[in-house]
Amino acid sequence: MNLPGSGIIKGMAVTALNMIGSYFDRAHAKRLTTEQYPEERPTLVETSRSFPFLVFDGDPEAGIRCVACKICEKECPPQCIYIVQDKDANGKAIRRPRVFDIDISVCMGCQICVEVCPFESIRMDNIYEVSSYNRFAPLVLHKEQLLKSNAYYNQIHPTEAAETDARIEAARIKKAAAAKATAEKVAAAKAAAAKAAEEKAAAEKAAPEKPSQPEQNA
């Protein structure tokens, strides 16, 4: 039987169910999903991303992976990255950044810089408490603020970091193997040349009185 107002009463039953249920939902699972920030901070999922950071291995100065190739600066859609390449004592350009600024008030966290970096050096951080009282200077992160260790990267994004480390390791092994192969080739060529020289010297020693004989090319 459809009493007038029964639709509203049924709706109120839903509201009552939610209100009573919210007192018994300690796990924030179903009825009361509000997290009391800042006392309860959200647990971020592993892939969560916010702003970029630069990775270094071991030492922030010597272990910096970035070579200032400027690909991320070029591909960044809102143009929030600013890179100046470093120069050594003689004024020759070296493969490190002297200036690496990211304006996080402009950065939209799109992750394109991470995708295009060929040197595994820029990755996404998951920091979100970066507010400041000034719109300009504190929101431009400089190289020193952006450099974070590979250990930190492994901590915030374990799977991604493990994959990156595996890739870097594989590349290192491949490079070492190639270098070894080249070294072996060079050594073999040197040994062959040395052997040829030795044989020539022996041959000359055996027949020294024929200087006017024309050289026979084999």
Binding site: T47, E75, I112, V116
Partner: protein
């Protein structure tokens, strides 16, 4: 005759008679779905003239795209219809793939369908909340809807790294594969969703106040809707059987079994109920996609993302977004940047007949009609 409500509203020189009142609804108003303004002339409470005013959220997206590379525009498409970023990405990817003749691997197509239908569900869920807010039920239904929507956004964060601005689609596939365990969690979530929808329907659909405010309001016939270029749920609520997923058959939709709900009267209640029915159909699509998704690559390896150069020419690619037909018209000269990049925004076109729908109704109905069209200003103004 100029219609300038910000000048003296009751002056005869302005075209207002002594009995009409010019009101500017917006751009700041809780029910305008963004910064949207309507200049309204009322005779008592009845609408006599309505002019929408756009441009408060114009961010020059189309000119920006001419300065960025093809890939660089992808994050900006997230910000068009900011409630459904994934379908915006998808439409842009479809248009570029049409322009360059790129094939998409099967697994990527299934992933696109899965995240696309999840986006449709969360958009329609948010709509349920917003239209209740427009009618004055200030926060309750909205918070219930958003509580449910959060679970879908958590799935997106796990997959792509960001809850909303995902930047997930690429030309020829998707950016990354599903993490281990994602499919099971999504499947489990989709199993629990109908319970929430049943609860919302118990709260809303039988409610006499809601029925009184939605039924018979803003009636639009099918022929007018087609002529006005309306698309999406608004078109289908007016009785027209046109869903781009069925008509164009893009992606793997031809392999999936789903129905297209259609309205009979074309009023706001039809648009409301139609979206609820579309959520139920989306759940069916998702269950089929979960069952059918194959293993394989998620990106076409032949396509360079960085330094992408499509051939010269143009293309118009479109998909059925949650708001309607979202299309991209791209003109390329073979270079790294587009020559012309135009977004066909469903929300803007759906507003073409706003005045027609609102004439003769009361001012309170204008809010409900606007809410039932379901616009997002990011798309209207770009």
């Amino acid at each position: 005759m100029s219609f300038q409500p910000h000048t003296t509203s009751l002056s005869k020189a302005n075209g207002a008679g002594a009995s009409t009142l010019d009101v500017s609804l917006g751009p700041q108003h809780p029910s305008t779905h963004g910064v949207f303004r309507m200049n309204v002339r009322m005779d008592g409470e009845t609408i006599v003239k309505l002019q929408p005013v756009f441009g408060y959220l114009h961010r020059n997206h189309e000119k920006l795209a001419e300065k960025n590379s093809w890939l660089g525009s992808m994050p900006y498409t997230d910000r068009l219809d900011y409630i459904c970023p994934i379908t915006n990405n998808w439409a842009y990817a479809v248009a570029v793939e049409k322009l360059a003749g790129i094939e998409v691997p099967e697994r990527a197509e299934y992933i696109r369908v899965i995240v696309g239908e999840l986006t449709r569900i969360q958009n329609h869920t948010a709509f349920l909340g917003f239209i209740l807010g427009d009618m004055g039920a200030w926060g309750s239904a909205l918070m219930y809807a958003f509580r449910e929507r959060e679970k879908i956004l958590d799935l997106f964060e796990w997959l792509t790294g960001a809850r909303m601005m995902v930047n997930y689609m690429r030309f020829g596939g998707v950016r990354c594969d599903l993490p281990v365990g994602w499919l099971e969690k999504a499947r489990a979530y989709v199993e629990t969703y109908p319970a929430f929808l049943d609860e919302m329907e118990q709260l809303l659909t039988g409610n006499e106040i809601l029925l009184a405010r939605l039924q018979g309001v803003g009636v639009l016939s099918g022929e007018r809707a087609i002529n006005g270029g309306l698309s999406g749920p608004v078109l289908r609520a007016s009785g027209v059987d046109y869903d781009i997923r069925k008509v164009d058959g893009y992606g793997v939709y031809p392999r999936l079994n789903f129905r297209i709900p259609r309205g009979t009267v074309g009023d706001c209640f039809d648009r409301f109920m139609l979206r609820i029915l579309e959520i139920r159909e989306s759940i069916k699509i998702l269950q089929q996609a979960f069952a059918q998704i194959p293993e394989g690559p998620t990106l076409n390896p032949a396509v360079k993302q960085r330094g992408f150069k499509p051939p010269a020419g143009e293309a118009y690619g479109r998909i059925e977004g949650p708001k309607g037909e979202l299309g991209f018209h791209l003109i390329s000269e073979g270079g790294e940047k587009p020559y012309r990049y135009h977004v066909r925004p469903p929300s803007l076109i759906n507003l073409t007949l706003l005045e027609e729908m609102c004439l003769g109704t009361k001012i309170a109905d204008v809010m409900v009609i606007l809410g039932s069209i379901d616009i997002v200003l990011g798309e209207v103004d770009r």
